[in-house]
Subunit: 295 residues, 4 copies
């Protein structure tokens, strides 16, 4: 199968279950909202080593927010409910409450809820108030620069992590450009994030290690462009730039839409040679996402 002359391999991405939240961070201006959203979703590329997986989903214009101010939808994800609870508490409490003019609302209706703000409100030391904005139960917590508004609870649900595809390009700079196009396209799909820096992954891992028994994960040498001559490589001869796009989403459908949009966008870049995907022979993850089935 080909898109714009680029080969789409007959393979699949293997996704995993993860618990996801979706939170709206608003502020007096879009720029201030982005500042809070960026701080709250930093240090969150992968739960392998970061305390969460998180990212900015999309811009939400003022006419679509409860407080009539511009905002950004962010997603914070973790496999463990307890860890997720902690992350929301600290990422909202330390990175949104402290941010100039920011507020936080729930964007995910769900029976499962985290009572983040139920605890956070005590920061008001008795001056906090329960209010209602746009039909939502919120807490108003007096802080130095005004009152911090935060929705009482945040829904969470079983989502999908690890949606992915590889971009194999003729050189590194072409690979970066194609990955940037893919990330820009995925930003248009609500309910998905690309948690790695700039939305792309420069490194690939395998489970365990061939040489160091103490390592839980190590570089996937078969996917390293500089090791093509030293190992039984999975990279075609003419590809010198390889990047992975990793996607977390609210559900399988969102992740598939994001993979589709990202792949088409990457294929718009001259010099992209092949789109592939990463899996563990279907043994580890609950979701099998066939590239060819996306189209």
């Amino acid at each position: 199968m080909e898109i714009n002359g680029v080969e789409i391999k007959e393979t699949y991405a293997e996704g995993f279950g993860i618990k996801v939240t979706r939170i709206l961070v608003t502020a007096a201006t879009a720029k201030l909202a982005k500042i809070a959203a960026t701080e709250a979703t930093g240090y969150a590329t992968s739960v392998i080593g970061c305390p969460a997986e998180a990212g900015i989903d999309c811009f939400v214009p003022s006419e679509c927010t409860p407080d009539g101010r511009p905002g950004y939808a962010i997603m914070i994800c973790h496999a463990s409910k307890k860890a997720l609870d902690h992350e929301l508490m600290e990422r909202i409490g330390m990175c949104v409450l402290t941010a100039p003019t920011a507020a936080a609302f729930n964007l995910l209706e769900s029976e499962d809820e985290l009572k983040t703000a139920f605890k956070l409100k005590y920061f008001g030391d008795g001056f906090e108030k329960d209010c209602c904005i746009d039909g939502r139960k919120v807490h108003s917590i007096p802080i130095m620069s005004g009152d911090f508004i935060v929705e009482s609870t945040f829904g969470f649900k079983a989502g999908v992590a690890g949606g992915n595809f590889f971009i194999l390009a003729k050189d590194q700079i072409t690979g970066v450009k194609a990955a940037q196009m893919a990330v820009a396209a995925i930003r248009n799909i609500p309910g998905t994030i690309t948690p790695f820096p700039g939305g792309m992954v420069a490194s690939g891992s395998k489970v365990g290690s061939n040489k160091y028994s103490f390592l839980p994960a190590s570089t996937n040498e078969k996917m390293c462009v500089t090791l093509k001559d030293q190992v039984d490589s999975d990279i075609r001869e003419d590809a010198e730039g390889v990047f992975e796009i990793v996607i977390d989403g609210l559900d399988e459908e969102s992740v598939k839409k994001a993979m589709k949009a990202g792949i088409v966008a990457a294929c718009s870049v001259d010099g992209v040679l092949e789109i592939s995907a990463g899996n563990f022979d279907g043994k580890l993850g609950a979701y099998i996402l066939n590239l060819h089935d996306l189209f």
Copy 2:
């Protein structure tokens, strides 16, 4: 004392000891370097609830970097060496190694060192190499998109956290503008960061709580603009916008320079009424930073 008609209160900021690192993140372009630096320093406003305090210090042009590529100096700080060691391992390993075209070098010569890359290099699963770039010992770790270059060790030293000043302005938007000016000025002082979102703090805390005994910290009601009529407020009658700038730095001198530059810049904004500072009566912190002594 006055600057441009703004009253500088006769008071002081109280700073604390913290262990600081200073790391250079370079990449193929300044924009890609900033992406890696931003991810690596996210979720790091205060160690009260975040795993570290971190931020971007300044841009470093390509003619001043070991690999001749543009970069950003970042600082990652923690009171505990062990925690700092963990943070460098994960923030570099998960947020810089994974970022497109990024590399990491040490910017802090010190006898005390963290052997971050000595562990990180094993990710190469035997394909890693020791090299030398610009007189520095680095490790070259093959990853998907090329080789990740990381300096072998990162220096750390006793620095200063909690340098601060308050901006009292006639309204919230004026306060934000003044805080933005202050943060822009502090960006010009190497060796300092303003770790909060956008560099400013919208909330102020006091130790403990008057109402909830289980709380280690709660809102500082005396500094809340919306509680001026309900409590014995520390905010003058005509001030409706209050923001704090918090500064971490390599040493007392850097923090003082940053406070000075930030205060002067804040005073350029029409509608700023007063500059004050936060302290604990000198009982908790090791550093007494008098506002009047800065000038």
Copy 3:
């Protein structure tokens, strides 16, 4: 006189009369509004060689705009009413009407008006309509992507051009940083623009030329850092970085406020040595703006 240790010379800037307009460009998002505003105010540093002097004044949040969308106030200026009329016609017709989701409103109440949209509306080829938005008479012109809304007339008035000050710094990079601080501060003063690239001027001119009689203007060799040893220089020995900030404003008061804010902000930068100003011995311009009188 000194601010933060920087000498403020006892001299003055000499300003000129110019006709100014102030236009609000709104769009679906702040980012889209900025795109239109930037295109409409480009190629407009000085009427010496550009068809106009223009720039972005400030951001206008959605709650302060006639159509409830975020926007930017821009200013377009020219000494000649006829030239100004032409510039508004083309800059709005070619750069705002063509921009995605953009609209244009008048921000300057004045008896003197340009009937820009009265002509522009004929572009609708009979499908244009007269409407009223927020009490303003506007034209609704059908274009490909929707209807372009433009206020019927734009006010203009006698304003002030050529407000200025020089920043003398120890080196070029310090000068750039100080100029950036000054420009950021001036952005907070409504009714003023800094029309040069990035808001600062890297070159200074004198009237006429010593060597080439055919030149109306040439480099001001007395203010060139690289000619200090060859001419009777006006630059102190220790200054190697010199930049000028040029300000156009709605009136003398706005320009003075902008000069004041810019000077204080520039003085926050360590390494700035002196603030001076440019004039023609008071012979050419109508406005004498003494630096010391600003404070």
Copy 4:
């Protein structure tokens, strides 16, 4: 023909001859270079009403520039050599020479040259010098903040203007997103620009007017989404968002590559319905660019 489910109409864009230049603007940092490049290419969407057509082509990393500093390639275009000569003189003289730390080099080898800097150098008033940088003949003109380096001549050649395609989407916001994706993709094709604001056109014109005989051009009512019910519309029933991408390029090949990349990228956006193109029945332009032939 379909790409990702989007219909590509069997039609063609009609391009025109235009004279093009390609200029490299470098500066101390990529950000400063972009400031100069943006000012120099503003107010330049179409020669119908602007003094030129111009835009930023692409970023040029420091290792590929004559002075080892980062830069941006820009293109300035006009049908008339005389007008082009004037535009280069003023856009370089007023917007690059005046910009902090900027320099300008020729990026287009051609027998046809504009002697822009041959005239510009006289601004140095006798202090200018002829130098050689990286094998290029340049002039060094002393200005306030240092020396302005500008290449002696700038090549120009017969290029192609008016390459284009239409994006028909289900609603306006989807149309904007698709246009943004297209513009991002075209940025990857060296030698092309999208001169309209944000790279896209919100308005479409027809030659002349049905109602007003004095108009040279008026809205193309058949392509207006809000006139679908009033005229014999060319827009399908389900399309409510329509944007055009207009491309100028060094030659037909570049424009075709840009159209191709832009169309594929636009088709990655869910909700895009159809790609079409604008022409004048082949009667006016010299270039017939068939959409189907691109693939």
